[in-house]
């Protein structure tokens, strides 16, 4: 089983590399790493909201600069942040590119009988920048806040405990299952030669996923029996941690609030 199905190993390895890289940065000593996870998540969400509100290139560039400054203060390598944040805005730019000739406005340049308008170009630049800054802000959270801290923050923000538990257990078992699936694919690969046909590839993938899901269900049954044997009790919150909010946390919240209000004022006025 070589070819497309066999290359799943690369997908799994790529996903694992992404997570391990992020965890490495998250363990560094930086501004966002030192913040209370509730504050970090809510403040970065506030900054993302401010970016979504704005319709001005200059304001979007300011938020881009704030994102870069936060990344530098949080020991996030800019190349890594850029690498994570580049693909989505580029694809988004391609999606809205026709607007350079569709949107009415003053003609910037004429080519092939089409008029590229100033408004069209401005829209594509603004849209791409907004998506880019939005993706960079999400990447910032991913790279500076360990997911266990995010899960703890969810509980402290009163997300229902049953849901927090499902998310926590999903995350806990995810890497075990990545490893199991990777071993299944490698084991099949090592016993097969030649390229498989489309039909053969589907047969292989069906068996792989079927076998894998059955193993998952078996593991679920074992976990269930083990938990019942222990009485089924669970602590009130997974990854629970108590932390006091400090001045730095208040400053970050203030920055987010100012960003949202400021963005609204620039767009709609007072």
């Amino acid at each position: 089983m070589t070819g497309v199905v066999g290359r799943s190993v690369e997908s799994i390895t790529g996903a694992l590399r992404t997570v391990f890289t992020a965890e490495q940065v998250a363990s560094a000593d930086g501004l966002l790493q030192r913040r209370d996870p509730r504050v970090a998540v809510c403040s970065v969400a506030g900054l993302a909201l401010a970016v979504m509100i704005t319709r001005t290139i200059a304001v979007t560039l300011c938020f881009g600069a704030v994102t870069v400054i936060l990344a530098r203060l949080s020991a996030v390598p800019l190349r890594r942040l850029l690498a994570r944040s580049l693909a989505v805005p580029l694809v988004s730019a391609v999606i809205v590119l026709p607007q350079v000739v569709v949107l009415p406005g003053d003609t910037l340049v004429r080519a092939f009988g089409l008029s590229v308008t100033v408004d069209g170009v401005a829209y594509v630049v603004l849209f791409t920048l907004r998506v880019g800054v939005g993706v960079a802000l999400l990447s910032l959270i991913v790279m500076t806040t360990p997911f266990s801290a995010v899960v703890a923050a969810m509980r402290e923000l009163h997300v229902p405990v049953a849901l927090v538990w499902v998310i926590a257990v999903t995350y806990r078992y995810l890497f075990l299952f990545f490893d199991e699936l990777q071993r299944l694919v490698l084991a099949r690969n090592s016993r097969t030669t030649g390229r498989s046909s489309l039909r053969g590839g589907w047969r292989d993938a069906k068996r792989l996923v079927g076998t894998f899901l059955l193993r998952t269900l078996d593991r679920g049954e074992r976990v269930g029996r083990a938990m019942q044997a222990r009485g089924g009790a669970r602590p009130p919150s997974p990854y629970s941690r108590s932390r006091t909010v400090d001045r730095g946390d208040y400053a970050l919240v203030a920055l987010a609030v100012i960003a949202v209000v400021g963005s609204g004022v620039v767009r709609w006025g007072l």
């Binding site: 290359r7 979504m52 998506v131 849901l163 926590a168 589907w202 079927g210 059955l214 269900l217 019942q228």
Partner: protein, 223 residues
């Protein structure tokens, strides 16, 4: 070249008010699912659902070959609904989509509500409803239609969300047909994968199949 059937909306595509409405819609649906699941599961069995969700997440990593040398990935929302039932399916996919966003950086923070609405609510509930309605006619066929219809309906939800947003320059008359037609075609792959995986699991463990026992995973599994 790998082509993933993904519909994560990044930040920047939705207006804040549309994102807020989608957060509200997914919040209500997930809240109802949590309430029903609490009754169905009991406290000690809740973590088991996470194990199954992790399995579905990992299964998404496998490349399925499609003509032209490219590949597609399993999304699994309809399969989750068929295997777990509507409430637990919604919770499982909520865990998957949340981890995709906050661990792998797929989608956006503000757009997370929209992504949850499309992939954890619409995908699961439509898949479950189609499978339940059609399984009496032909089980594997129902699984195919569920996978195909669910992904197309989720794409419709995304198309409406971005079409209503002034931040995205294309209007509903453009976004809805493009998303629906595009995903109706790509959804054939999701339908085929759902039917293939369902057939395999149903043959090996008929006790798990919706409607043959309970309306969710068997009591033996404990969900």
């Amino acid at each position: 070249m790998t082509r993933q059937i993904r519909m994560h909306i990044p930040d920047g595509f939705l207006d804040p008010w549309v994102a807020g409405l989608l957060w509200l819609g997914s919040g209500v649906a997930i809240g109802l699912a949590v309430r029903r699941a609490r009754d169905e599961l009991g406290d000690e069995r809740t973590p088991l659902l996470g194990v199954v969700a992790a399995g579905i997440f990992a299964a998404q990593m496998l490349n399925w070959p499609i003509p032209g040398g490219t590949s597609a990935h399993f999304v699994g929302g309809a399969f989750a609904g068929m295997l777990l039932g509507p409430s637990l399916g919604v919770l499982a996919m909520t865990a998957v989509v949340t981890i995709q966003a906050l661990v792998f950086g797929d989608g956006g923070i503000i757009a997370l509500g929209g992504n949850l609405f499309a992939m954890a609510v619409v995908d699961v509930l439509v898949g479950y409803a189609l499978f339940r309605a059609l399984r009496g006619v032909h089980e594997t066929g129902a699984a195919f239609v569920a996978g195909w219809g669910a992904i197309t309906a989720a794409a419709l939800a995304v198309g409406v969300g971005v079409g209503l947003s002034s931040a995205f320059s294309y209007e509903l008359s453009v976004t809805v047909p493009i998303m629906v037609v595009g995903h109706a075609l790509l959804g054939l792959v999701e339908g085929a994968i759902t039917a293939a995986v369902y057939g395999y699991v149903a043959n090996a463990r008929p006790d798990l199949v919706l409607g043959r026992g309970d309306d969710s995973l068997s009591l033996e599994v404990g969900l």
